[in-house]
């Protein structure tokens, strides 16, 4: 059975959890306590030297550590309920929007949080190396989230889901982005009604609380 090293409170492993849930794949869940720094300890470093969750261990013992990697693996190994599209243009749109959500949304929030939170001093980037905070970058991150919400709302005015007519991995990434933005006190505007309506639909899916 697949094993997922996870931390329920963190946004990044939640991407893997939601994907597993949407695809209906069973797995064993192992919690790593990010608050006590368990991810930096010897035991977890032996599993993932990059010291990050999620880490998905396959039945062959391969350890997959990036969400891009986990997604590509699960889509190929468990092709039912495709999350990356079926036709070339669907695949293109999903890749595009997932990339945009990741770079313009998720990365912007991470940079706003990691460059301002006192708890993340010298941890401005994930991974094994220490990186000093840049307060100005936190502000740029906040601006970028607001722009991203604007763009996502515009996209959802014309599309039921983030990448078109069907639910996809881009909806997973975007759901987590909207929820993660609360950590830096950024919320969709009341005027962004397409974004708000889509978010309500996402909350109603079983994967939301997976």
């Amino acid at each position: 059975m697949l094993k997922l090293y996870d931390c329920t409170t963190a946004p990044s492993p939640r991407r893997a959890r939601m994907l597993l849930s949407e695809k209906g794949i069973e797995y064993e869940n192992i919690q790593i306590n990010l608050k006590t720094g368990e991810q930096m300890g010897q035991a977890f470093r032996a599993i993932n030297p990059n010291c990050t969750v999620p880490a998905l261990v396959t039945e062959n013992g391969d350890v997959l550590t990036e969400n891009a990697e986990i997604t590509a693996f699960l889509e190929a190994a468990y092709p039912e309920k495709p999350m990356l599209g079926t036709t070339p243009i669907e695949k293109a749109l999903i890749a595009k929007w997932n990339w945009r959500v990741e770079f313009n949304g998720l990365a912007a929030i991470a940079s706003a949080l990691r460059n301002s939170s006192p708890a993340m001093k010298d941890r401005a980037l994930p991974g094994p190396r220490n990186v000093k905070q840049i307060p100005e970058l936190a502000q740029r991150g906040l601006d970028r989230i607001a722009w991203f919400f604007e763009d996502l709302d515009a996209q959802l005015q014309d599309n039921s889901y983030v990448a078109g007519d069907n639910y996809s991995v881009a909806d997973i990434t975007a759901t987590i982005t909207v929820d993660f933005a609360r950590w830096v006190k950024v919320y969709p505007l009341e005027s962004q009604s397409a974004l708000l309506e889509w978010h309500e639909r996402m909350k109603a899916r079983p994967s939301y609380t997976a």
Copy 2:
């Protein structure tokens, strides 16, 4: 026939060009002059409102504007000579390394360049919105490129190609990353012999000068 809006001197559209070359796909090439700001003008904005190259126009008239999108489309529409792997674990490794090269390599160089170059004042991020430079972020970018070269050299000590035994899109992204790093005067160290040897092999491929 496919049409690629391109700028030969820029690293981002080079990713699309190299991919088209490796897959042996014919296309029409249209140059957009980034030096004169042609990408911000009305004519190009009508094609790609995000004001970036590459932009690939499909035979159906769809306009694909992100490299992730272009790659997903070409791999699905022209499946010969797969660049994203064939087995689940190959697909996973290629997605992982392409993502790492993109986030830890390419994005680090872009941030070093865009946050320091006088020509890019207020253009610290690509896209239609102006963003102020953060000089400290340029320095962080330089540190990150050095770390990335360290990690890539370690990976290439054990693998012929960036993501394993076969050439893939991760090699394209990494080739462009190594070449782009020169723009900010960062080069692989002489001691990074696996990285240097791999780069020489990449230069010998026809796609290198596509």
